[in-house]
């Protein structure tokens, strides 16, 4: 069973490579293009294109699902295996992060934070196997940012709509238009930050590969036959830069996206008003039940 889950978590990535080899047309030379659109679903409000980015992000979702199954499927209380140690460490570290950044009230956010962090990091790391990284498409990252924006607004509404509307008039009422712009800019800046970092990394990698091809043609072009065409400088050298642009940048952006989600959600939440309201409600409830008891006793 363990092996089966492990295989099932690797299979989607292999399927992604196979889909890319089968259906994505090979571009001649080095070119920079967006995600390849496989097909378009006709809908009443215009077509819905199903692109490489979407397919790859679905594959990452399936792969992560089976990987989590692999980590957690056979938990024990003693004689624990290496898998369980890794799973416990992951859960503990994410919960520690949420506790230190959001406080005890938001402990339920651990699932969302861990999910978005894992999804984002694994999507960015897809470049290592040569697939199109879904995070370099604004549609995917924009979706996550909108999700976060809905969560932020929901928690701002927790203490009633009046407090939400009044929060735009702070510190002085005539700054309200700026506050509204700032509110809308939050998801846009989150999406652009993540997508711009990953996309710029991949564009710089492509440009460096093109440069190295030309330089090696200049240096080794005089060699006879196939040796003259072979880009020697492209072997190994771009990998050094890939450590920064793919590994470090991808993981850092995932961490920052999760961190900003936590900070925005807990920062926008009107804590004092919420607990005051809650106490008032409970007091009212207690009063009501007491009144009912009293009347019952009187009868």
């Amino acid at each position: 069973m363990t092996i089966l889950y492990l295989i099932l978590s690797i299979l989607p990535i292999v399927a992604g490579v196979i889909i890319k080899v089968m259906y994505v047309p090979v571009s001649d030379g080095i070119s920079i293009t967006g995600a390849h659109v496989f097909f378009t679903i006709d809908l009443p409000l215009g077509g819905l294109p199903v692109s490489e980015a979407q397919v790859n992000s679905w594959l990452v979702l399936i792969s992560l699902f089976f990987f989590c199954k692999f980590l957690t499927h056979d938990l024990k209380t003693r004689n624990i295996s290496v898998r369980q140690v890794i799973a416990e460490w992951l859960v503990k570290s994410v919960e520690g992060l949420v506790r230190s950044n959001m406080g005890e009230f938001f402990m339920g956010f651990g699932h969302y934070i861990a999910a978005i962090m894992g999804l984002s990091a694994c999507s960015s790391l897809l470049t290592l196997v040569g697939l199109f990284p879904p995070t370099s498409d604004i549609n995917i990252v924009g979706g996550w940012a909108i999700m976060t924006f809905i969560l932020i607004t929901y928690y701002k509404f927790k203490a009633g709509p009046w407090i939400y509307i009044r929060s735009f008039g702070e510190p002085v009422p005539f700054l309200a238009p700026l506050n509204i712009i700032g509110e809308v800019a939050t998801p846009i800046s989150m999406a652009f930050r993540h997508y711009g970092n990953v996309l710029s990394g991949s564009i710089i990698s492509v440009l460096i590969a093109a440069l190295l091809t030309n330089v090696s043609k200049l240096i080794f072009g005089a060699l006879p036959g196939i040796l003259g065409d072979f880009p020697f400088l492209r072997v190994g050298l771009p990998a050094v830069l890939s450590v920064y642009f793919d590994l470090f940048s991808g993981c850092l952006q995932a961490f920052i996206f999760a961190m900003l989600t936590m900070l925005y959600v807990s920062g926008g939440f009107p804590e004092d008003e919420y607990f005051k309201r809650k106490r008032l409600k409970e007091a009212k409830k207690n009063n009501n039940s007491q009144v009912i008891k009293n009347t019952n006793g009187g009868i």
Binding site: F192, R193, G196, N197, S200, I203, L252, I256, M259, L260
Partner: protein, 94 residues
């Protein structure tokens, strides 16, 4: 005449992308200041190294945002805008 118009479009897009990337100065200076302050803090209190590093990376990422806006504009100007504008021109000419 059409060649000239297309040439002006391509040149304008390239110039615009170059001008947009002037915005790279801002994040460069800002992140430099942030890292300098972080180095000072670590030098003063070496035991707070991990907390300072995490906070510094967060701040750097936020300071980078304006630069990334410029980058997105530049990418759009180089890879997307010329094709669209040339299409519009050809449709207008007929």
């Amino acid at each position: 005449m059409l060649e000239l118009a297309i040439g002006i479009i391509l040149g304008g897009c390239a110039l615009g992308a170059g001008c947009a990337m002037i915005a790279g100065i801002g994040p460069g200076i800002g992140e430099g200041n942030a890292v300098a302050a972080a180095c000072e803090a670590i030098g003063r209190q070496p035991e707070s190294r991990s907390a300072v590093t995490t906070t510094m990376l967060m701040g750097c990422a936020v300071a980078e945002t304006t630069g990334l806006y410029a980058l997105v504009i530049a990418i759009l100007l180089i890879f997307v805008a010329p094709g669209r504008l040339v299409n519009i021109l050809l449709e207008a000419v007929g």
